[in-house]
């Protein structure tokens, strides 16, 4: 049950998949789990659909974690988000409104092969685990792989891209969780230019980092990725934005280098509680204000 599963520790891929299966069995009114394809090594790519089921049109928010294998706090947050949503559906008006009016498509582990490898072989693995006859190296950076000219997209990226294209009319926001730098980024990443709906996106980001800071005083920088971080192309956020999803964000979660990828489990709770505030803030902002 929700109460027995420990959300304040890191879980292996198998644990996470069992947890999703369990939620699917025990929370039928709000949860549906399905697979959108298979990874390079044949593992299922599970999505957790969260929200009160309805035949009527519902907007949707996509949340993915674990594009980069070693960034374990990402998948931990995706699980935390699902738990919070389910636990507070009856008690928190804002959460009830979101789950009644929206679907959340949550992908707790995007790069399943890499994540598994980071548990079993190399804690600091980043990329996928594909092999390519043209190149000697193993795997690619799944966040430099979205519609780029230098290589084909990975099976995992294709599966997610296909899903997002098919649900483009519903998916209004794309949120991707990474680590570490304590930043909230929005497009563009591949060029220095201002997005057409900059006004609304900037306000949403500003409010989100303010809400996040209110929890434990943690400061996030926010802004266009190309300016706030560096220019990089082929990432999922830019692809989502250019393919019709008007609000695309990438979170770089804690910390800023003291632990780096090795964020101790005792910091999972504060990191996730503050990030929840930011995500709820963005979602409610988009539901209300933005056209």
């Amino acid at each position: 049950s929700l109460s027995e599963y420990n959300y304040e520790v890191y879980h292996s891929l198998e644990d996470i998949q069992s947890w999703m299966y369990h939620l699917n069995q025990t929370q039928p009114s709000l949860v549906q789990v399905f697979s959108i394809g298979r990874s390079y090594e044949g593992r299922p790519l599970f999505i957790l659909q969260l929200g009160r089921k309805s035949r009527a049109y519902k907007k949707a928010v996509w949340i993915d974690c674990g594009i980069h294998a070693r960034e374990w706090i990402g998948p931990a947050f995706c699980q935390w988000f699902a738990r919070e949503a389910l636990l507070t559906y009856k008690t928190d008006p804002a959460m009830r409104k979101m789950l009644n009016h929206l679907y959340f498509y949550i992908m707790p582990v995007f790069n399943v092969d890499g994540y598994h490898f980071s548990w079993t072989h190399d804690r600091f693995w980043r990329k996928t685990r594909s092999r390519n006859s043209r190149f000697h190296c193993r795997g690619v950076d799944a966040n430099r792989n979205w519609k780029v000219k230098w290589c084909e997209s990975e099976p995992e990226v294709k599966a997610v891209a296909d899903f997002l294209r098919q649900h483009r009319k519903h998916v209004r926001a794309y949120l991707s969780f990474h680590a570490y730098a304590q930043m909230l980024l929005y497009p563009y990443s591949y060029k220095h230019a201002t997005i057409p709906n900059f006004g609304c996106v900037e306000i949403a980001a500003h409010k989100a980092v303010k809400a996040l800071r209110s929890a434990h005083g943690i400061r996030y920088r926010h802004g266009p990725a190309s300016q706030t971080l560096y220019i990089s192309s082929g990432n999922s956020m830019d692809w989502a934005y250019k393919n019709g999803i008007p609000y695309a964000f990438a979170f770089e979660l804690r910390d800023t280098g003291q632990f780096g990828f090795l964020l101790p489990e005792m910091l999972i709770k504060p990191t996730c509680t503050e990030t929840m505030l930011a995500v709820k803030n963005i979602t409610l902002h988009l539901l209300k204000k933005c056209p």
């Binding site: 520790v9 890191y10 072989h121 190399d122 804690r123 600091f124 980043r126 950076d141 570490y180 730098a181 971080l229 560096y230 990089s232 280098g257 003291q258 632990f259 780096g260 990828f261 090795l262 964020l263 101790p264 489990e265 005792m266």
Partner: protein
């Protein structure tokens, strides 16, 4: 020891190249030693003022640190013993479960 103790003696250091010369020097040694960048995600993103975190394996530690000192590139040690940090990431219960 998780991961077969493979990170024993490894470190993570932080440096911020201040000049074009320092950037060029660091990129050269990076390509020679093939160390793992924690941030930014690629060596091509390193330029003047870029906060750069590097995971140095034990066998490259002396070479890289000596080089940085010789090139007067300032650095700080973020993680002195990476294997210990990997072990401390999980609380005791998780470590028992994993064993």
């Amino acid at each position: 020891h998780p991961y077969g103790n493979r990170y024993a003696g490894d470190k993570v250091i932080r440096l911020t190249p201040r000049t074009e010369e320092e950037v060029f020097a660091f990129k050269n040694i990076y390509r020679r030693l093939q160390v793992d960048l924690w941030q930014p995600s690629s060596i091509s993103y390193v330029s003047e003022g870029t906060v750069t975190d590097v995971h140095i394996p034990q066998n490259a530690s002396r070479t890289l640190l000596t080089f940085l000192q010789g090139a007067r590139i300032q650095y700080t040690v973020l993680i002195e013993d990476l294997q210990k940090a990997v072990e401390n990431e999980n609380n005791l219960q998780t470590q028992r479960n994993r064993r």
